[in-house]
């Protein structure tokens, strides 16, 4: 793989034939090697081991789905066993009650996919609705296998109740062939998962795990992404279950149960969550060794597994995968996913904005907000047009941040109406407000710690450029304003660095660049230059002025430095104890008696420039 220089800033927009980068060759190499092992396996391994490995391969496929959900996306799930069970029972029920034929095999396969997908949509909708907590999703995932097993128990002779279904006719395939099928399936799923998690779309999952609110405010419909992901993972698990029933010719409620679902989580944890290869190794090791040893050591075996779990958690909190990786690479290799792309300008012409136009960029009417009996905002009425840089000043605790929140999330306010670019935001969630043109920079640096600078910016572009599920783009194209912020603060030199290692001020600047990368037409900035030095603040001030002047953005800015406000604003509004008390030109407001008394103090230190 060619290594791209850390930053080729100012690459002209002509680089339309941008280089896409992927690990295709690496993955194909590994997969080919694994397939060779699978091909020779049945000839060199004892029959008993071949039998056990077929089952372990299928379990490992399910463990992979758990790893993608839990390890990458942060959704701890105990419910993947239910989808495995649905796939297994689709085969078991069709073959038992209708007999086996190729047509019935296809019917059962279709039913496995359809039913698991439908159940996943339902479960996903229940687990991931806007604002649901991760704990809630885990509880739902625990309830699902319990519900499915109860359904199977109460199915009488149709489902075979607690003894399940057995003795049905199935594919006339030898065990060796099953070994090849299951092995190839596992290699295929692992390879595809590997490509996916390292693609631009795969990084979105990590971004969701790291900071869900930030994703929503970057216009990503997190619920929909999670539901879609769950559906795909459910279908894969159901396919494994289908194959399992085909080879074992027996299905039982336990395979859909939460004990199996929990075991999957343990295997993933032992192998190393978020590594893909770890869960596969963990599953194969434990499942096969269990088959060999649980017969000889019926009671002690569970204890040994338990102890191994404790030892791994204490000694290798990342699981065994990193250990294996270190053995292979000597720890020196650079993670290709961390290599930074080159920077480019998205387009030369002025920002179109996500949804610019309309009479007013922002229009608030009688906006109120209270927490219980505590009134934070009351009767807020104001309008702002395109091209205005409106500063919002007021004492600490006046309600400035709350007001920003009410403009960017329809669920926030207690009453009144908010229009963005003439669209009523109603009760819409943040990602819909982003679609109306809102870009919000939070008060505290709100970024993705585990991602690199370049990856974070790419996440911010998700809404505008659908990310690939296979590859990573070689060039990161940003609007000019975002590029300028990067250059002004030296971030363009740190594209490949992880965000967690940035200073506070650099995180602030990165978040500002991310919001600008969204190409908003209404920009809400909550102390965007906090933590930056005066020269950096001045540069960012110039960029903001240019955004309003040249690109016609409307900016609402919360700032405490009155000199900074004076220099860049076109209008100032003052918030005091939840009410708008002043609205006027910069000079009128900054010189007013009210601002002096409630805000500025004696003026020797505070109002002065930094």
């Amino acid at each position: 793989m060619s290594s791209v220089p850390a930053a080729e800033v100012g690459v002209p927009a002509a680089s339309k034939h941008r280089r896409r980068r992927s690990d295709l060759r690496l993955v194909l190499g590994f997969s080919a090697a694994a397939l060779v092992l699978v091909a020779v396996g049945p000839y060199v391994l004892p029959d008993y081991l071949v039998n056990n490995l077929v089952r372990a391969f299928l379990y490992a496929v399910v463990a992979l789905t758990v790893d993608i959900l839990w390890g990458y996306t942060g959704v701890l799930t105990f419910g993947q066993s239910a989808f495995f069970g649905i796939g297994a029972y689709a085969a078991g029920l069709v073959f038992t009650h209708m007999g086996f034929s190729p047509a019935h095999a296809w019917l059962a396969f279709g039913a496995a996919i359809l039913v698991s997908a439908l159940v996943a949509v339902l479960v996903g909708w229940l687990s991931f609705y806007h604002g649901a907590s991760p704990l809630y999703a885990s509880v739902v995932s625990l309830v699902l296998p319990i519900a499915v097993t109860q359904l199977l128990y109460s199915g009488g002779t149709f489902t075979g109740s607690s003894s399940g279904l057995s003795g049905f006719a199935s594919f006339d395939i030898e065990m060796n062939t099953w070994f090849w099928i299951a092995g190839a399936f596992l290699v295929l799923v692992t390879g595809a998962a590997w490509m996916f998690v390292r693609s631009d779309a795969g990084r979105v999952l990590v971004a969701i795990r790291e900071n869900e609110p930030r994703c929503e405010y970057l216009g990503i419909n997190v619920s929909r992404v999670k539901i879609l992901l769950l559906v795909v993972m459910a279908v894969i698990a159901a396919m494994a279950g289908y194959a399992f029933a085909g080879v074992q010719m027996v299905v039982a409620p336990e395979y859909a149960g939460f004990v199996f679902g929990t075991e999957l989580v343990i295997w993933v944890a032992l192998g190393g969550r978020g590594t893909l290869i770890g869960p596969v190794i963990g599953t194969l090791l434990i499942d096969v060794s269990t088959a060999y040893l649980s017969g000889n050591l019926p009671f002690i075996w569970k204890l040994i597994i338990g102890l191994a779990f404790v030892v791994v958690i204490v000694a290798l909190p990342q699981g065994i995968a990193p250990l294996v990786k270190r053995l292979f690479r000597g720890g020196g290799a650079v993670d290709p996913a961390k290599q930074a792309p080159a920077l480019g300008i998205a387009r030369e012409e002025p920002l179109a904005g996500l949804a610019g136009g309309g009479v007013h960029a922002i229009s608030l009417h009688d906006v109120r907000k209270h927490f219980g009996s505590l009134v934070v905002l009351q009767g807020i009425d104001f309008q702002a047009r395109r091209g205005e840089l409106l500063s919002l000043v007021g004492p600490n605790g006046a309600g400035k941040t709350t007001l920003m929140r009410c403009i960017s999330d329809g669920a926030e306010r207690s009453g009144g109406t908010v229009l963005v670019n003439d669209h009523d935001i109603e009760r819409k969630p943040p990602y819909d407000c982003v679609a109306f043109g809102v870009g919000r920079k939070f008060q505290n640096a709100n970024t993705f710690d585990a991602l690199t600078v370049a990856e974070s910016l790419r996440i911010a572009r998700t809404r505008l450029e659908r990310p690939s599920v296979w590859t990573r783009a070689g060039v990161l194209e940003l609007p000019e304003a975002a590029l300028k912020v990067m250059q002004a603060t030296g971030l363009d030199q740190k594209l490949g660095g992880e965000v967690r290692h940035l200073s506070h001020g650099q995180k602030q600047a990165l978040e500002l660049a991310m919001v600008l990368a969204l190409e908003p037409s209404v920009l809400l900035l909550d102390e965007p230059t906090a933590g930056l030095t005066k020269p950096e603040r001045m540069l960012i001030g110039q960029i903001l002025v240019e955004l309003t002047g040249k690109h016609g953005l409307c900016i609402l800015l919360v700032e405490h430095d009155l000199d900074f406000v004076r220099e860049i604003s076109s209008r100032v509004i003052v918030l005091h104890q939840g009410r708008l008390v002043l609205d006027g030109t910069v000079t009128e407001v900054v010189e007013s008696e009210l601002v002096r008394t409630i805000y500025a103090g004696g003026g020797r230190i505070g109002g002065a420039a930094r």
Partner: protein, 235 residues
């Protein structure tokens, strides 16, 4: 020379293999306010985290009140009558204002007199003891952070960019709070700041950190101090 509250000698620190702070030598005496300036990303916060034991000391020594604390664990350093107010995420967001203050105290009986004392500086605190800290505004959270540090009656305060996000009049108040604390209790205070005017108004001595090294230091009262600082921050 009297005992230093904090003394750094040849301190090197960083993250993993990346050395971010180099050859830093400082001493802060009781009753002194010292300000460390520098652009962002120059290693200021890293230095404080190293003093508090959150980051490994790669080379050099750290002494607090004549005791060598190099390599000591954070919770043991925190018992040395030092109060550290970090830049980010330092409050328990789901606890009330009162519980946040109480957690910093060894003895619950100190709560009442403590709140009375800090209430004089920050009147909103005694009025809103039952409010969840996470629902305070950004600036109020900063004030609560300082209040919590003052409640513990520290002999040494390490304060990371406290003026950020505060309204001008509150920044002025903070300056007087720090000065009063120094005069009444001889507390040594190390401030990290980007706000030059505030820094110069409150501190006795200063140093400028650049790429992890101290490139300028002196008395705030010196005639050329402000010019020298501005020059070093500009480049």
């Amino acid at each position: 020379m009297s005992t230093a509250a904090l003394e750094l000698a040849d301190v090197h620190s960083g993250y993993g293999e990346a050395v971010v702070v180099r050859e830093v030598a400082l001493d802060i005496r009781p009753g002194e306010i010292f300000v460390l300036l520098g652009k962002n990303g120059m290693g200021k916060s890293t230095l404080l985290k190293t003093v508090m034991g959150f980051l490994p000391l790669l080379r050099g020594r750290v002494r607090m009140f004549d005791e060598d604390i190099s390599g000591m664990q954070p919770h043991r350093i925190a018992r040395k009558a030092v109060a550290y107010t970090p830049q980010e995420q330092a409050l328990f967001q789901d606890l009330t204002v009162e519980d946040n203050l109480r957690l910093a105290l060894r003895d619950d009986r100190m709560l009442k007199p403590g709140v009375d004392r800090i209430g004089a500086f920050f009147p909103f605190i005694p009025q809103r003891m039952k409010q969840r800290a996470g629902t305070l505004s950004g600036g109020e959270q900063k004030m609560l952070l300082v209040a919590r540090a003052l409640m513990t009656r520290p002999r040494l305060m390490l304060v990371d960019e406290i003026s950020e996000g505060l309204q001008p009049s509150v920044i002025e108040k903070l300056a007087s709070v720090f000065k009063a604390e120094r005069e009444q209790s001889s507390t040594a205070i190390l401030l990290i700041e980007q706000h030059v005017k505030f820094a110069l108004a409150v501190a006795d001595r200063y140093a400028v950190l650049k790429l992890g090294e101290i490139v300028d230091r002196g008395l705030v009262g010196a005639a050329n101090a402000e010019q020298s600082i501005t020059d070093h921050l500009a480049v």
